[in-house]
């Protein structure tokens, strides 16, 4: 613990606290308080308009028997299982290509990053047109090569793949992180591997991947968090649920319970369950990757 505070130190402390107080207040009012309140409400029957009534673990018990909750969870996991690896793979491949010394490299880098800064609502509207069953550009292209495209947004079996495909487009953020990591890989490693006769795929697998493993791990964790909270695209492109709830995602179901059905207590409970799921998955990813992630500094 610190020793005596002189008068000057004390004043400095107060000034310091004073200067960061906007953040402290902001966090307390808009972060900490809602967080604690939502935990309390999750044990309540709460419809926003009336005072919350404590009901113990009833919301959590109901969730266990709620088929819509399970369907939403299944849809979300389905989406995550395909979209996270696909996104990571695509981002890594693009990052590797953007890391080559080719003419106009910065133009390509900008072009691949650009989709990430387009507002999601606008992107979703464009995808709706691209995947429209009758007029769509995608189906037009398919018809040119003799294929009949599916009802991307109307066929129960296709809506989740459609959402996965349309999500892969916006991996700019992931690409940038990979790109930074790739530039940290010492050239000398590649040179010595080349002397030993290693070809490109071998170099990728034995040098690049281990050396950028912290970036892969980081992007994986961010991917899990992002995918499990997917909201905007299903909400805009499929009106929230899609045919027969085939595109009802966890976050959308939570929103419906909170604001459409006024089951705010139940929605808060759902939010905490999602939090626990994300914590467990992140912990799992950390545990699995502990052996495989190489931090240069560790020796």
């Amino acid at each position: 613990m610190g020793g005596a505070l002189t008068r000057g130190e004390r004043q400095n402390l107060l000034k310091g606290v004073g200067f960061i107080s906007p953040w402290i207040i902001g966090f307390a009012v808009f972060g900490l308080y809602p967080l604690c309140a939502s935990l309390y409400y999750s044990f309540c029957d709460y419809d926003v308009l009336n005072k919350p009534a404590y009901v113990g673990t009833l919301n959590y018990q109901e969730m266990v028997g709620d088929s819509v909750f399970w369907k939403a969870l299944y849809n979300t996991f389905y989406f995550a299982v395909f979209s996270i690896p696909l996104g990571l793979f695509m981002a890594l491949m693009i990052a590797i290509m953007l890391n080559q010394s080719v003419r106009g490299r910065s133009v390509f880098r900008t072009a691949y990053f650009l989709p990430s800064i387009v507002p999601l609502i606008g992107v979703s509207m464009i995808w709706m047109w691209l995947f429209n069953g009758d007029y769509s550009l995608v189906n037009f292209v398919l018809s040119r090569i003799g294929l009949t495209g599916p009802g991307w947004l109307t066929d129960e079996a296709w809506v989740k793949p459609t959402l996965i495909l349309s999500g892969v487009w916006q991996v700019g953020g992931t690409i940038v992180i990979f790109l930074a990591a790739l530039q940290d890989v010492p050239r000398s490693l590649y040179e010595s591997a080349e002397i030993d006769g290693a070809n490109a795929p071998v170099r990728l697998w034995h040098i690049t991947v281990p050396m950028i493993s912290p970036a892969i791990y980081f992007n994986l964790v961010m991917g899990i968090i992002g995918a499990l909270q997917e909201f905007v695209r299903p909400f805009v492109m499929l009106g929230g649920t899609g045919p027969n709830r085939s595109a009802l995602f966890y976050a959308v179901n939570l929103y419906q319970n909170a604001f459409d059905y006024l089951n705010m207590g139940y929605a808060c409970a759902m939010a905490w369950v999602l939090f626990v799921i994300i914590v467990l998955l992140t912990w799992g990813a950390t545990a699995v990757s502990r052996k495989h992630v190489y931090y240069g500094g560790d020796g």
Binding site: R10, I25, G151, T154, N244, F259, L262
Partner: protein, 481 residues
């Protein structure tokens, strides 16, 4: 150790600082709380009015608001167009800082009333001498819940069959004779359906009744135009049961999703995908544009008969002005002699609980609900008046040539509103999912509606349990106003 005094000083100072910050925060919060209660000591009482309308609908109301403000100097109405008005009403009421008047929909009323978020109007109505018989019965009943009146109508609407006369003629049907029974309707819908298929290597277009048994069975055709789709626009598909004599609940404590009438209605609904092929319909339907656009399938001649409200006329004028069209009651399965069926909805005005100036708010609502202003509003919005007392010129002045059909439908004893159930938002979504399931043929109609029945009855029971606990208090509170 000589650090004691300074430690003490720190423990005193830091909470003191935080206390100051908290105080600032509270002042800030109370600042935004006091905003809506802006009553001027000398000038008029300013009341806040939130309304969902935009465009010409908002303009029509704004004209009425201006008239009201000009007609007296005690109350000044400030009208604000607000998107997502029901959610903002919810949050502002929960936060104790609601506006004085809000324009919502009839289906919002039971949910908000039951949760105590609205001010009952009964006492005001009694004082103002406003009675049930002043209104078209179905509209009046939309404004009531648990024996109290919570809202007064602004602009109502009923829905009716709209048909395209040119398409009738092309199909060899009499353009001035709409179907009068559901059987006749189906026969006409098939005749109005044009499909394209390959016959011995050649692409041909034929009307649906001209298909052979085998072709109907195989469903290998492309739909070029359709007589009718129960999913277009699909805004009322949860209550197709009304046209078969069904109800969504018994008015008391039971959900009736699985009634025989509702099963019959959804069999009729599912029969469309059985007949025309779900994939064919989906592909065809995917090309439909927004309702208020030239790609609206009724406006561009893709669908010959749709169920729509009086606003359809506005879109026809805007996007397809040369179109020849007619309006009649959508035929029901109830047989000849039965009154026509329609769904009636209304935009309504309510006073949230905790509004700063409820008396002045009601004065404004009352003004809107007098004959002159109401007709001005309804003419501006091109709807019909909810009042039974209508001026002679109202119909002749009305831009919609079929407005009398909508009025007659609204007055029908079989005019039904959305179910006035507090769980309707969720119930509606469940029925919609069931409709997806039967449309795709994945589930039988009784099984799909059975699932809805069980799930929603459980939800309803929970709401009723809560209601039973607070009923006595609530009724006393509402009656005591």
């Amino acid at each position: 150790m000589d650090d004691r005094p300074s430690d003490k000083a720190r423990t005193v100072q830091v909470p003191g600082l935080l206390g100051t910050l908290l105080l600032c925060l509270l002042i800030g919060m109370s600042g935004c709380g006091g905003e809506s209660t802006s009553t001027d000591a000398d000038g008029p009482v300013v009341i806040q009015y939130w309304e969902k309308w935009t465009g010409f609908e908002a303009d029509a109301m704004r004209a009425v608001v201006d008239d009201f403000n000009a007609s007296q100097d005690r109350v000044f109405v400030k009208m604000l167009s607000v998107s997502g008005v029901d959610q903002k009403l919810l949050l502002s009421t929960a936060g104790g800082n609601p506006p004085d008047v809000v324009g919502v929909w009839t289906h919002t009323v039971p949910v908000f009333a039951e949760k105590g978020a609205l001010t009952p109007l009964d006492q005001y109505l009694a004082e103002a001498g406003i009675v049930e018989s002043d209104y078209i019965p179905a509209i009046w009943s939309c404004c009531r819940h648990r024996g109290f009146t919570w809202a007064l109508p602004a602009t109502p609407a009923s829905i009716a069959l709209h048909w395209n006369k040119a398409m009738f003629e092309a199909a060899g049907l009499d353009p001035d004779k709409p179907p009068t029974s559901i059987q006749e309707f189906e026969a006409m819908a098939e005749q109005l359906t044009l499909v394209e298929l390959k016959r011995s290597g050649e692409t041909v277009r034929v009307r649906f009744p001209e298909l052979t048994e085998a072709e109907r069975e195989a469903k290998v055709f492309r739909i070029i135009q359709l007589g009718h789709s129960p999913k277009e626009p699909g805004w009322w598909l949860e209550v197709w049961g009304y046209w078969f004599g069904g109800e969504m609940w018994d008015g008391e404590r039971a959900v009736t999703a699985k009634s025989d009438e509702n099963i019959e209605a959804f069999e009729w609904f599912a029969d469309y995908s059985r007949r025309y092929g779900q994939r064919n319909l989906d592909t065809f339907g995917a090309s439909f544009g927004n309702v208020s656009s030239p790609q609206n399938p009724f406006l561009n001649g893709q669908v010959a008969m749709v169920i729509q409200g009086p606003w359809m006329h506005n879109f026809i004028e805007q996007y397809s002005p040369g179109m020849r069209w007619g309006v009649a009651a959508f035929p029901s399965a109830l047989g000849q002699g039965e009154p026509p069926v329609t769904v009636i909805e209304s935009d309504v005005l309510v006073i949230p609980r905790g509004a700063a100036n409820p008396d002045e708010a009601f004065e404004f609502i009352r003004y809107v609900n007098s004959r002159g202003p109401m007709e001005k509003l309804c003419l501006g919005q091109r709807k019909f008046s909810p009042l039974t007392d209508v001026s002679e010129t109202f119909i002749s002045q009305h831009p919609n040539p079929y407005i009398d059909v909508f009025i007659e439908l609204a007055k029908s004893p079989r005019a039904r509103s959305w179910p006035t159930l507090p769980i309707w938002a969720e119930y509606k979504d469940e029925v919609r999912v069931a409709s997806d399931q039967v449309y795709s043929g994945g589930t039988t109609v009784p099984a799909a509606l059975g699932k809805v029945q069980v799930r929603m009855q459980k939800r309803f029971d929970r709401v009723l349990r809560r209601w039973d606990l607070v009923e006595a208090d609530r009724l006393a509170e509402w009656g005591g106003r």
